[in-house]
Assembly symmetry: C3
């Protein structure tokens, strides 16, 4: 069996947006009990991560480190057409994930207790980010 | 065909643990000849990598760099409930992988000669880490 | 349905090589309309990324940052058998991707307008890099 569906996440500036419930709903809708759920984001300045879902300070600290590794408006960047968060957004995507593959077990995501699925918006503006969920299994 | 199974890896402190043989065994058990093997780790402070499997100094050097990029006990971290390796563990997971997708070819993993699959434990303590292997194909 | 095929990319030094057209061709050849396309690279010093496909300066800036995060010939490295780009290549692979999972929609890759698939060669020399494309779906 193959299930595929698209959804959008409206972002309001840089940061993490919990999309675990949407992904879980798609798994439920698919009727698939055992398999793989692949989540893909169709952009190059927003990405996906799985991280600790309980304490928001974890995501603030992830941001602290990403900001250090991929500085905004770094003087070494050539590409800066769209501002200081343009090139840093592309670097952040390279260092995180365009897609996630999550096991589907007994008709639900097999995420661990402390795992949440987050869209990571890297730009400062507001965007409508498109994602595709594909679920394969039986 | 869909095959899914769970196994655990008992870690004894930070470092890499070769799980290639376990993954290969699951591929063998599945009876699937051609497809994809997805390995997923259900934790937010241990992750997965594929790297050179021959010389242990490669993994020591990976550790040197990860430690530099995601320092333990960085004064900038807010989140430090569980010690100096708590937040750095989450950063290390973001920079590495929650899941790996490996081709299954002629009933075996299609890994290159020098590729090994490693669980990367980021905490100093001993943990029982749970993984799920899902294999899809025919 | 399962489709699997292998192709090679001949690299001529460090940098990014656009393999989007090859991947698209494999999706076309597979006859699969809806599913997942997994691209895997069988090496530990060349990797895969999805990034902005229009302006080459983006990939030069990605290189600037990767070079900073994973320096060539870093004095801290133990492993340097094959030169200054040996260990840095392994670090770069850890920080990027061994595999990519791309949705297949209406018989084509569901890549966003600005997304391209690139093999990232991390070594200075010329290499023949082997990749496997596995497509699952219907």
């Amino acid at each position: 069996m193959v299930y595929q569906s698209t959804f959008t996440c409206n972002t309001r500036g840089r940061g993490t947006y919990n999309i675990s419930a949407q992904v879980e709903q798609h798994i439920h809708n698919s009727g698939i009990r055992t398999g793989i759920c692949s989540v893909f984001i169709h952009h190059t300045s927003a990405s996906l991560i799985i991280t600790e879902n309980a304490d928001p300070s974890v995501r603030r600290d992830l941001e602290t480190i990403l900001h250090r590794l991929a500085p905004d408006g770094d003087p070494a960047y050539e590409h800066d057409y769209e501002g200081d968060d343009d090139m840093s957004g592309h670097v952040r995507c390279m260092l995180t994930h365009d897609s996630l593959s999550i096991p589907v077990t007994q008709g639900a995501s097999g995420l661990g207790t402390w795992q949440g699925i987050f869209l990571y918006e890297h730009r400062f503006g507001h965007f409508s980010r498109r994602l595709t969920v594909t679920i394969l299994g039986e």
